[in-house]
């Protein structure tokens, strides 16, 4: 076969493979993704049974734990609206009231149930508020 024709065929096959793989990547990412919401957005527009990734701060005075079951409220990072969350499993070491967390939840009745092993707490060394320096 003519070498230039051979090269063209190879290029078309390679580009075709790239397009197929890229399409698969895009498709799977959109179908497997979890919507990220703040607590106030959850309150406004969440459907029961659907998974959401909620980000916010653990509300002061809201955390109680019995065995491996933890109950707490997560509020907006800069607001007051909050949602109650029941989470089964050990919480990460830096988990505290006032700390920023990310957790995947599903609505079940009046509360939100956290999916096991999805709770992460932001490393406290990295989000200390800036104090004025002289």
């Amino acid at each position: 076969m003519d070498p230039s024709r051979k090269r063209k065929i190879r290029l078309i096959v390679a580009l075709g493979a790239v397009v197929v793989l890229a399409t698969a990547l895009v498709y799977t990412s959109f179908t497997a993704s979890t919507e990220a919401k703040s607590p106030s957005q959850l309150l406004a527009s969440a459907q029961a049974g659907k998974a959401y990734e909620v980000t916010g701060k653990v509300a002061a005075g809201s955390w109680t734990s019995r065995g491996t079951t933890n109950v707490f409220r997560v509020r907006d990072r800069n607001g007051r609206e909050s949602v109650p969350i029941r989470y089964a499993g050990a919480v990460p070491d830096p988990f505290r009231e006032g700390r920023e967390i990310v957790v995947t939840v599903r609505k079940a009745g009046g509360t939100w149930v956290g999916e096991r092993d999805t709770l992460v707490t932001k490393c406290p060394s990295k989000f200390q508020q800036k104090a004025p320096k002289t």
């Binding site: 799977t28 993704s33 989000f127």
Partner: protein, 726 residues
């Protein structure tokens, strides 16, 4: 001290600006004296930054709380070992570490190449100085590490207890060394493009630095994984967090580059690809630094209060646009000297390996930035979790391990069928035996079995390469087998060092596959004497433990509440595990004198029995409910009548009260929650990393010929200088 630090930083900034200017002007005007002066400016900048670093380090070691940074990231109770590293737990300190490492590595490469690449080096110097101007500029103008406290506190906040782990001491310097070393090939690639000197010389000259960058970044990543496994209390080593991913991306493209440059060196091919890869790696290294400091993505590791996103975005935009413009404008000079002769050849495997590595990088990039992508497309922010990453990455990793085995058995340019058959018989037999053995053992988990089989295939190929090389060496030099093996490696360090790296990576992948697919985990609420079963083991809570730990200066450092567990399998004792939760006092003045010892930071100390085939891992979450009434009572006493006592007496009584609390926890222990894991082959991950490290060192070590070349270049330069004087 603080003023001296600020002045040193300003000096470093001015020298960096001069270095960039002198190098550029000198290169354009062909003025050797000026380009040499630009190079020496880099040395001077390194001296100024190392002095700044030492100055700040001394303030940390002396607990000088007149420094805002020291007061907010260290304390007198922080052990000296960790005071020395508390600097890079802060934004400002980590930026200073970045700039210092950049200046040191830049000085090293410019010194070693001072007699070579005369046209390229000044432009590379200008680029390296440009990076330095950016980072030191941030330190001078936006994030000074030399802010003062007023009034000076008597005690600091302390280093976050989670960071008190040996891995975290070395992890950031390793990562930053990787990032900053990748700036070296980036800078020389820019120099080569500007001067159109696009043969493989710049690649050969910067190769040790590229390899070192790759190695340091890899060590940094693995140390982070080790820290996560042994300190964070969740039992995992990789969570696909954006900041973790940010370090993986340049490592992947750097790996691709280290492979594809061989084709350029051997055949003069893939010039556009190589230069694009190294430029992309440089950009990704900066992107990693940007992700930690911009707050644009949710990450447990990001600096949330950072305002550095804007400047970093500008830098990244300049790097991308400048790189693209250079590559496009030099496309005619980047044409390959040769064409691919056959689809089945070593070049093809290298190319495919590159495509797989770049595809992995694209997957990681897509998944990491997916929240921003989805928001831009659908208006809704969404994220993909670890299962998506695993599904997308595992097939690519499988293909990569297979290619690792195929590469060495294929010849350059063209392969004959007879040769292929001769090379493949052993590895295919090994893979088949592995498959039969796994199925015989009842192991049928699809992707894991596939990975074990291709790993057996590839490891056999590498063993075969060592065996045949040693045999040939023995036939030629009549040496004993160990001597022949050593001479073989010594004479072909790059090749056999590379094979060792492959062995390490395969070992690591096998560890990841086994521990991900066959891990058993559970939570158990146990009282002393009770037993939980997991993965064929019986774990018994034997007794509670507690301890009040004082720092060397006598101040209370932490309270430990833990447990001793006995592990048995089939009725026989396996090991005894000791796990505890350490509670560090909070500096929050609103908390009570006793409760502040329990409401501050706490860390899990993992009970771990690491084995060659299985790890038994546990952490405890003690219940404080039983202690709470006593804690509340202690707060009332020490806030009431206790507050009127002299400070020394109050401290003594408080220590006694805490001792009493710790003792009462042991006397009447409440049920505790344990997380239990049985993970197979986790040790193989760390072992694999060690093999990679060893292989990298072998490959990086200069061969006798390279040393000779360097000495000859130095001698030639000296002769040329003497001749110009005559």
């Amino acid at each position: 001290m603080l003023t001296a630090g600020k002045l040193l930083l300003v000096l470093a900034l001015l020298v960096a600006v001069y270095g960039a200017g002198a190098s550029l002007v000198g290169a354009r005007a062909g003025n050797r004296a000026l380009t040499d002066s630009g190079r020496r400016a880099v040395y001077a900048m390194a001296v100024a930054l190392v002095a700044t670093f030492v100055l700040l380090e001394s303030m940390f070691l002396r607990s000088d709380f007149s420094s805002y940074l020291v007061a907010t990231h260290s304390s007198t109770t922080t052990p000296a070992f960790y005071r020395a590293t508390a600097m890079w737990s802060s934004q400002e300190g980590s930026l200073l570490l970045w700039a210092t490492l950049l200046s040191v590595w830049s000085s090293a490469v410019l010194y070693l190449s001072r007699n070579r690449m005369r046209e390229i080096a000044p432009y590379a110097t200008a680029v390296l100085c440009g990076f330095a101007v950016f980072f030191v500029g941030l330190l001078v103008l936006k994030e000074t590490p030399f802010g003062a406290t007023s009034p000076v506190p008597s005690e600091g906040t302390g280093l976050n207890p989670l960071l008190r782990h040996p891995s975290m001491m070395i992890h950031p310097p390793m990562l930053y060394s990787g990032y900053t070393l990748f700036a070296v090939p980036f800078a020389f690639a820019v120099g080569a493009l500007v001067t159109r000197r696009l043969n493989a010389d710049w690649i050969r000259s910067t190769r040790p630095f590229t390899l070192a960058a790759w190695l340091f970044l890899g060590i940094g990543i693995i140390l982070g994984a080790r820290w996560s496994y042994t300190e964070l209390g969740w039992g995992g080593y990789w969570a696909w967090d954006p900041v973790e991913n940010a370090s993986l991306m340049p490592w992947l493209t750097g790996t691709a580059f280290l492979h594809s440059v061989m084709i350029q060196e051997k055949r003069g091919m893939l010039k556009v690809w190589n230069v694009s890869l190294v430029l992309a790696t440089g950009v990704l290294a900066i992107l990693g630094t940007f992700l930690v400091r911009s707050g644009i993505l949710q990450s447990i590791h990001a600096f949330g209060a950072s305002t550095l996103g804007g400047p970093f975005l500008v830098l990244i935009a300049v790097m991308i646009l400048g790189s693209a413009a250079l590559v496009v404008s030099r496309s005619a000079d980047l044409r390959s000297d040769a064409k691919l002769d056959a689809i089945v050849s070593r070049e093809s495997v290298f190319l495919l390996n590159n495509l797989v590595l770049v595809a992995m990088c694209v997957i990681v990039f897509w998944g990491t930035f997916f929240p921003l992508i989805s928001e831009a497309i659908t208006g809704e922010k969404a994220s993909v979790g670890p299962p998506w990453f695993d599904r997308a990455i595992v097939p690519a990793a499988l293909l990569l391990v297979l290619l690792t085995g195929l590469g060495p058995v294929l010849a350059w340019r063209r392969v004959t069928l007879a040769n292929l058959r001769h090379q493949l018989v052993g590895p295919v037999v090994a893979g088949s035996v592995c498959l039969v053995a796994l199925l015989g053992l009842g192991i049928t988990a699809g992707t894991s079995v596939a990975l074990f089989v291709v790993a057996a295939f590839s490891l056999t190929v590498i063993a075969q390469e060592f065996w045949r090389g040693t045999r040939a060496r023995r036939a030629m030099a009549d040496e004993s087998p160990p001597t022949a093996l050593l001479s073989l490696v010594r004479r072909n360090r790059r090749r056999y060092g590379g094979y060792l790296v492959h062995v390490g990576v395969i070992t690591l992948f096998v560890g990841v596959a086994a521990s991900s697919a066959f891990e058993s985990s559970r939570y158990a609420d146990l009282r002393p004497g009770q037993t939980a079963a997991i993965g064929g083991y019986d774990v018994t809570y034997v007794r509670p433990t507690s301890r009040v730990v004082a720092a060397p200066n006598g101040r209370l450092e932490r309270i430990d509440l833990g447990a001793v567990l006995r592990v048995r399998k089939d009725g026989k004792g396996v090991t005894t595990l000791d796990t505890r939760r350490s509670y560090f006092p909070s500096a929050d003045p609103s908390l009570g004198p006793v409760s502040r010892f329990f409401d501050g930071e706490s860390t899990s100390e993992v009970g771990l029995k690491a084995g060659a085939f299985k790890d038994v891992w546990t952490v405890i979450a003690p219940s404080l409910a039983g202690l709470q009434p006593a804690i509340d009572k202690g707060d009332r006493v020490f806030d009431g009548p206790g507050a009127r006592l002299p400070a020394a007496q109050r401290a003594t009584l408080l220590a006694q009260a805490l001792d009493g609390l710790a003792a009462s926890y042991v006397r009447s222990p409440p049920p505790a929650t344990f997380r239990l894991l049985i993970s197979p082959l986790v040790t193989w991950i760390w072992l694999g990393a060690l093999i990679v490290f060893a292989g990298g060192l072998v490959a990086m070590w200069p061969s006798p010929r390279a040393v000779h070349r360097m000495v000859s270049a130095g001698y030639a330069a000296r002769v040329a200088r003497e001749l110009t004087k005559v």
